[in-house]
């Protein structure tokens, strides 16, 4: 009749779980159902020791359908996308891809994007790259830019307007 998580008083969100599993299928990744919680992912997770990310727990919560608590959390943004979890999982599950799905969901739901991501996104929108050309300081304290070093002009989208039009169309697309 009902299942309630007594710590959060949340109930399984079966629709959202299906949405994420469908997305994983579309990208040819394995769905969360097959996880038997061996913990090999978390044992090797590069972000676990420092930032307490537990990939196996993410998969377990997805199996249980407790999606909102993950989408609203900060921990999903700690993943370094080293792909070790996906590489070593005996059931071919990719917690890293599940985390990307959750992060995409957080952004789409209007939650504030952490850190620098907004700036990176703005930069791609305006010049097509994550950041503009920087001047660098050499080991002997000189300041040089790209042309000083003898490198040619960088490659950027030839028609920025068309490029931006395309980007704004995709920005609202879900997988």
């Amino acid at each position: 009749m009902s299942i309630t998580d007594l710590t959060s008083m949340g109930e399984p969100q079966t629709e959202l779980r299906k949405e994420i599993n469908d997305r994983l299928c579309k990208l040819q990744d394995e769905i969360s159902d097959y996880c038997y919680q061996c913990g090999k992912c978390t044992s090797g997770c590069e972000a676990h020791k420092l930032l307490e990310l537990e990939p196996h727990k993410i998969v377990a919560l997805l199996k249980r359908g407790l999606i909102d608590e993950m989408v609203n959390s900060d921990v999903i943004w700690t993943c370094m996308s080293c792909f070790k979890c996906r590489e070593r999982c005996p059931q071919k599950i990719a917690p890293v891809e599940i985390l990307f799905a959750l992060k995409n969901m957080a952004v789409a739901s209007g939650k504030q994007i952490p850190g620098n991501y907004t700036a990176l996104l703005q930069s791609v929108l305006s010049i097509g790259l994550l950041q503009d050309i920087k001047s660098v300081t050499t080991r002997d304290n000189k300041t040089l830019n790209r042309s000083d070093i003898g490198l040619p002009d960088i490659s950027k989208p030839t028609d920025p307007t068309k490029f931006q039009m395309m980007i704004s169309k995709i920005a609202i697309e879900k997988v």
Partner: protein, 657 residues
């Protein structure tokens, strides 16, 4: 040819009746040509149903029967018996499958019923043309072949021998005993493995009904149930077994002493080129390894082979050759055992890079008092006693990228090791077990697990991602899901419990015997629940780990079962062969031999009658697979019970609108 056909429609409870209008079918059938009577019943396969058919045969003087029911794979055999008991030839019966191929495949009652009508229509058309057939008799050779001399093969051979049948027991390696001989103790009773094995080994060696063929391999298998011809190669030992006393002087003298990796010790120890696999080997005769022996590989052993010099009995004979013999048996039991997955497939666990990462079977050899360290537990890297030993379970098991199945014995063997290691190294030895589930399912297993839990063992529920070689020790990070904490284990010796896999040559071997493998590569049983010992090939049975991972008691039980199944055949003087086999219409046969080239059972030969060559089917060998029929360009080759002249009208009637 039948002129008086009875159609019997089964409800199969609601399996057929809920989707197909049975009453409608009965009426429909009654109106078909040559159908005299048409009846229905809830469960045609029951006694009541059988009597219904038998009574109708007598009363209505029927000479052909159509039963519309479930798949012939279920009850065709039973119904043949019923029809025969009623007085009609068993092969004047046609089964129309209106369950698996109709009521179970569709929802729409109207359409399903009309399809069922078409199926019955076709069946009646065929039944009109069926001919009575007689089974021929196959003489049974009351002797058996058991392939594999481990505990499974030994048990099967003993049971058959005690029943009074002669048994050839063929073993690839120089001694019988198999994996059990490599173990120190067995779970859950902690019996000494050799102590309980060797009496059986002695029994089977001394039993007058058993002919032991060790260091021998199967070359070919021909024939069929009741009468197999098997070619066996007895490999040359280069030792005269009548003279050899197994004293071992040659082993000590061998120029390559201590230089060759010992297979029995799983590479943890070394042996000579002339060797006894283990001290309790049966037969206790030496064997020369022709892949390493200097004289055999290079033609020269120093100034002369030292084994010959040291042998007082003069038993060494380098002139020996492989010998091939033929044996004739009525049944074959396959008990060829298993291998371990090479843990190098899981590179992250460091097997093969660090000497101190070993497999559970290698640890078994270290624990064993007849092992390379005479039972002392020493780190392979420096020969010192370990202070901490860590087990990683499920290495390659339950793993979609390696072996998807559970190895069944890993958990229990690891728990057994804990007991034995604590016994040897003292209670203080740190033993860590990294597990995903502990499967202690058998009789006495849970109690054993409880005892080990009470023995100061560190259980970590989780799976390490990798084993790091930090030169002086090994380091493992493991997330323990019971406490939700990440632990770093610094340990001296890591034991990997790998998946159990079929032997590397299982595929080739299966093809040799014409039996199948399941998707995991183990040999395929006829039905996983109800026929776990039979294969799809009559007269060939499988037992032990070659059928799938299992422990010793399940292997022994299955082997006794295999012996019973084999004895079933061997105790008969003759068997009835299925008459639904191929036959040649000699007038139409041009002798092109296409059928011979496709026959997997070598059951067809070309014979000359007067001036004309034509094909002839050996009825004892033919399996009725139909490949020859399909390949015959002239239609001369036909299959009894499925002749073109019977099938064509059936198809036409079925497809009629």
């Amino acid at each position: 040819m039948s002129n008086r056909i009875g159609v019997f429609v089964c409800h199969c409870g609601i399996n057929i009746a809920s989707t197909v209008d049975v009453k409608d079918l009965v009426n429909y059938a009654k109106a078909l040509d040559k159908v005299i009577v048409s009846k229905d019943y809830k469960y045609m396969c029951s006694d009541v149903g059988a009597n219904l058919i038998k009574d109708s045969i007598k009363k209505d003087k029927l000479d052909g029967i159509v039963i519309a029911c479930c798949s012939p794979r279920m009850h065709e055999h039973t119904f043949r018996g019923v029809v025969e008991a009623g007085g009609v030839n068993a092969f004047n019966l046609e089964i129309s499958n209106i369950r698996e191929q109709c009521s179970w495949a569709h929802d729409d009652k109207e359409l399903a019923t009309s399809k069922a009508k078409a199926l019955i229509r076709g069946a009646v058309a065929k039944a009109k043309l069926l001919e009575p057939l007689e089974s021929s008799k196959i003489k049974v050779v009351p002797e058996a072949l058991v392939i594999g001399g481990g505990i499974s093969g030994i048990q099967a051979a003993l049971d058959l021998a005690e029943e009074g049948h002669k048994v050839y027991l063929v073993e690839k390696s120089p001694s019988i005993g198999g994996r059990m001989a490599q173990l120190d103790k067995t779970f859950p009773t902690l019996d000494c493995s050799s102590c309980i094995l060797t009496p059986k080994m002695m029994e089977v060696a001394n039993n007058p009904n058993v002919e032991l063929l060790t260091y021998s391999e199967i070359v070919s298998v021909d024939g069929s149930i009741g009468n197999y011809t098997v070619k066996i190669k007895k490999k040359a030992r280069y030792v005269d077994i009548d003279k050899c006393t197994g004293c071992g002087d040659c082993i000590a003298a061998c120029r390559l002493k201590g230089r060759i990796s010992s297979e029995f010790d799983e590479g943890m120890g070394k042996r000579s080129a002339i060797y006894l696999p283990f001290p309790q080997a049966i037969p206790l005769k030496c064997t020369i390894d022709n892949e390493h022996c200097l004289l055999l590989t290079k033609g020269k052993c120093g100034t002369g082979p030292l084994c010959v010099e040291s042998c007082e009995a003069g038993a060494i004979d380098f002139k020996q050759k492989d010998k091939e013999i033929d044996v004739n048996v009525g049944a074959i039991i396959v008990a060829t055992g298993y291998d371990l997955l090479d843990p190098q497939s899981l590179y992250e666990y460091g097997y093969g890079r660090s000497k101190d990462v070993i497999t559970s079977l290698q640890m078994e050899r270290l624990i064993s008092s007849s092992g390379p360290t005479t039972g002392e537990i020493l780190r392979p890297s420096n020969g010192e006693k370990p202070k901490s030993i860590t087990y990683i379970l499920c290495v390659g098991s339950r793993d979609e990228t390696q072996c998807s199945w559970c190895c069944r014995i890993g958990c229990m063997s690891a728990l057994k090791h804990v007991y034995l290691l604590k016994e040897k190294l003292g209670d203080d030895i740190e033993i860590n077990i990294c597990y995903t589930d502990i499967r202690s399912f058998g009789k006495g297993y849970e109690e054993f697990y409880r005892n080990i839990r009470g023995m100061n063992t560190n259980f970590f529920r989780g799976r390490p991602s990798e084993v790091r070689n930090e030169r002086s020790h090994l380091s493992i990070d493991i997330f323990d899901t019971t406490t939700n904490k990440l632990f770093e284990i610094k340990t001296d010796l890591v034991v990997l419990v790998p998946a159990l896999v079929p032997r590397a040559d299982a595929g080739d071997f299966a093809r040799l015997l014409r039996i199948s493998q399941s998707a995991d590569g183990f040999l395929l049983e006829a039905h996983p629940k109800l026929r776990p010992i039979d294969t799809f090939t009559g007269g060939i049975f499988i037992t032990g780990c070659c059928q799938g991972p299992k422990d010793i008691q399940d292997s022994v039980a299955q082997s006794s079962g295999a012996a019973a199944r084999a004895a079933n055949i061997l105790s008969k003087k003759e068997l009835e062969s299925e008459p639904l086999i191929s036959c040649v219409e000699e007038d139409l046969c041009s002798g092109c031999s296409t059928c011979i080239s496709v026959c997997a059972y070598s059951a067809i030969e070309l014979v000359k009658d007067d001036d004309k060559s034509h094909a002839k089917v050996n009825e004892a060998l033919c399996m009725g697979c139909g490949a020859c029929v399909a390949s015959c360009p002239s239609g001369a080759m036909q299959q009894r019970g499925y002749k073109d002249k019977q099938l064509k009208p059936m198809i036409e009637e079925t497809l009629k609108k």
